[in-house]
Structures are given as structure tokens and as C-alpha cells.
């Protein structure tokens, strides 16, 4: 946080600078291999999350596995979603630390973060509730709406994430 020329302005820049200058940030930047290797884990986790999110969203939309109850499908896939997210967030934080200043000025990064928080909150609250609820009680349109919102939020996160690499 800092105050600029009489105008009170909150900024996270010092925090981003601190990340960039941290030992971890330096180590990743100085290594030829670390960044690409961490990126690879980030991508593999993306595929896993993609599958785990998509199969339940498509089921909520009534497009696949209609003979399977949504609730049991969601429960079966849930550990893989959580595992994928854990790898994703860890590798993502490491990537971020190595280029925090670039991220601070990147529109793609801001877009990604703006959609990531709602995507995670939505997935673990509303979506989880609707997916594991009694289908007869919730009604198919709520399921469809939730599936659509989820797939949209996560797609923007993925696309904006790829775009960080093209900016700056």
C-alpha cells in the first residue's frame, strides 16, 4: 500500500515487487529449465481440471452420461478436481513469483484473476451444492444454468492465462 501525491491510492505494486525480488522469484528467473518445467505441470493440471470440470458441467447441461446421477458423478470426480487445482495453484504461484511485475501491468493477468476468484468460489459453493443435490428437488434448469456459468468462467480463466505469455 502507498500514498501518491496527496491522493490516497491503494496499490498492490509493492507486494508484486516483493514477490519478484524474492529468492524463489530469482531462482526461477535464473534457471533455464525451471520456468518451462513448472509451466508443464501447470498445463498438465489444466488438462485434469478441464476434464473434471467439463464432465460434470456437460452432465449438468444434460449433454453426456444422462443415465448417471449428477451427484455420484460429481462426487467421483471431485478428488481429481481438488488435486488438479492444488497443482495448478502451486505451479501458478511459482510462475507468478518469477514475473510478478510483468503480471502487475498485464491486462490478461488481471482478467484471469478477476475470473479465477469467482470461478473457484462458484465451483465450491453454488455448483457443488447444485451438483450434489437431489435432482428432482433442484430442477433441470438450475443445473443447466450452473453448468453454463461454470464452463464460461473456467474458459475465460484458461484463455486469459494463455494470453499472459503474449503480453509485455
Amino acid at each position: 500500500m502507498c500514498i501518491e501525491e496527496g491522493e490516497f491510492r491503494l496499490t498492490l505494486l509493492p507486494f508484486f515487487e516483493w514477490c519478484e525480488n524474492s529468492g524463489v522469484g530469482h531462482a526461477i528467473r535464473d534457471s533455464l529449465w525451471l520456468f518451462p518445467v513448472i509451466e508443464s505441470f501447470h498445463l498438465l493440471a489444466l488438462a485434469l481440471i478441464g476434464g473434471a470440470v467439463l464432465v460434470v458441467d456437460l452432465r449438468l447441461l444434460g449433454l453426456v452420461l444422462r443415465r448417471q446421477p449428477v451427484a455420484s458423478l460429481a462426487r467421483e470426480v471431485h478428488p481429481w478436481l481438488v488435486g488438479g487445482l492444488a497443482v495448478m495453484v502451486t505451479s501458478g504461484l511459482l510462475l507468478f513469483t518469477s514475473e510478478a511485475i510483468k503480471c502487475y501491468y498485464s491486462d490478461a493477468f488481471r482478467t484471469k484473476m478477476t475470473f479465477l476468484l469467482p470461478a473457484i468460489v462458484f465451483t465450491f459453493t453454488v455448483r457443488r451444492k447444485v451438483a450434489t443435490a437431489d435432482e428432482a428437488r433442484v430442477g433441470p434448469w438450475w443445473g443447466k444454468l450452473v453448468g453454463l456459468v461454470s464452463v464460461t468462467l473456467w474458459s475465460v480463466v484458461g484463455a486469459a492465462g494463455r494470453w499472459i505469455g503474449f503480453s509485455g
Binding site: L32, P36, E39, S40, L43, L44, L46, A47, L48, I49, G50, G51, A52, V53, L54, V55, L58, V64, L65, R67, Q68, S72, L73, E76, V77, P79, W80, S155, G158, A159, G161, R162, W163, F166
Partner: protein, 170 residues
């Protein structure tokens, strides 16, 4: 004409130059490639995990495979198309890149693995459709598929890095 000759010719076509120099289209194609990775590989991973008995154990294998196939196929087609465009944008450098070559070999192996699986153990799927733990051959196919696709993703990401490129090629 050699493969390199074809790549050199491709590189001089207006489409390749336009794609390479575009501000928006190239990143857009990259994004499509990454998002369809979720569709194709995400569903493929889930099927592999089902074969290994690690998820959706109560869903019959043939039902999971049959229901997800359309999405896998659609994702695969978009992935190949966007991937071909990415190659077309930078043909010579990509052709000479070691990671691209590794990726192509792995893709062929992954295709072979899927083909063998469908020609052998999957033909008798009716006998083991509901087994939470599938026959050994199916588990091997699932494990191989997971390993190969992981290697393909890693190699694919590495194409962008130029550690082993010959000087003067870009």
C-alpha cells in the same frame, strides 16, 4: 522435395507470414489449442483414469467411452487444426526443433496404443464393462495413454523454447 524443403516453401507463403506476424490471430489460435486441450485431453484423461479404476467406478466403461467420445473427437479435431496452424506459422524452426520431433513420435505412439486397445481388449468390453478394476491389458493401455499424453503436453510446451535450436534459425 525434402520435408525441410516443404517447410521452407511453406514459410514463404503469404498465409504463413501473415499468421506469424499477426498481433491477435496467432495468440487466438494458441488459446484455442490450449482450451481444446481441456476438452480432448480432459475427457481422455478421465477415461484413462476409469480404465485404471481411479474414478467413475460405477459407470460402465462402454458408457463412459461412448458418451465422452463425441467430445473427445471434436476436441481432437480442433486441436489438430489449431496445432497445424501453429506449425504453419513457424514451419522451419518447428520442424528442426527437437521437442516437436519428440512430440510427433509420442503422438504416433499414443495413436498406436489407442488402436491396439480398441482392436484387442476393448472388443470384449461387454465381459468387463461393470468391473471397477478392469483387465490388466486395459489398465496397461490406460496407464500408457496417461504417460504418453503427459509427455506430449510437456514436449509441446517446450517447442516454444530454443535451447537446442541451431543458430540462425528462427
Amino acid at each position: 522435395m525434402s520435408l525441410l524443403g516443404i517447410c521452407e516453401w511453406l514459410e514463404k507463403t503469404p498465409g504463413s507470414i501473415a499468421l506469424h506476424e499477426s498481433l491477435w490471430v496467432y495468440p487466438l489460435v494458441e488459446s484455442v489449442h490450449v482450451l481444446t486441450l481441456c476438452v480432448f485431453l480432459g475427457t481422455a484423461l478421465l477415461l484413462d483414469l476409469r480404465l485404471l479404476g481411479l474414478t467413475m467406478r460405477r459407470v460402465p466403461v462402454s458408457e463412459a467411452a461412448g458418451q465422452l467420445f463425441r467430445w473427445m473427437a471434436a476436441g481432437f479435431v480442433l486441436m489438430v487444426l489449431s496445432g497445424s496452424l501453429l506449425f504453419y506459422a513457424i514451419p522451419v524452426r518447428t520442424y528442426l526443433n527437437i521437442f516437436f520431433r519428440i512430440k510427433v513420435v509420442m503422438l504416433v505412439l499414443a495413436g498406436l496404443n489407442a488402436w491396439v486397445f480398441h482392436r484387442t481388449v476393448y472388443r470384449r468390453v461387454a465381459e468387463w464393462d461393470l468391473d471397477p478394476v478392469t483387465p490388466r491389458a486395459a489398465r496397461v493401455a490406460g496407464g500408457l495413454s496417461l504417460a504418453l499424453w503427459a509427455a506430449i503436453v510437456v514436449a509441446g510446451r517446450m517447442i516454444a523454447y530454443n535451447w537446442f535450436d541451431k543458430p540462425g534459425v528462427h
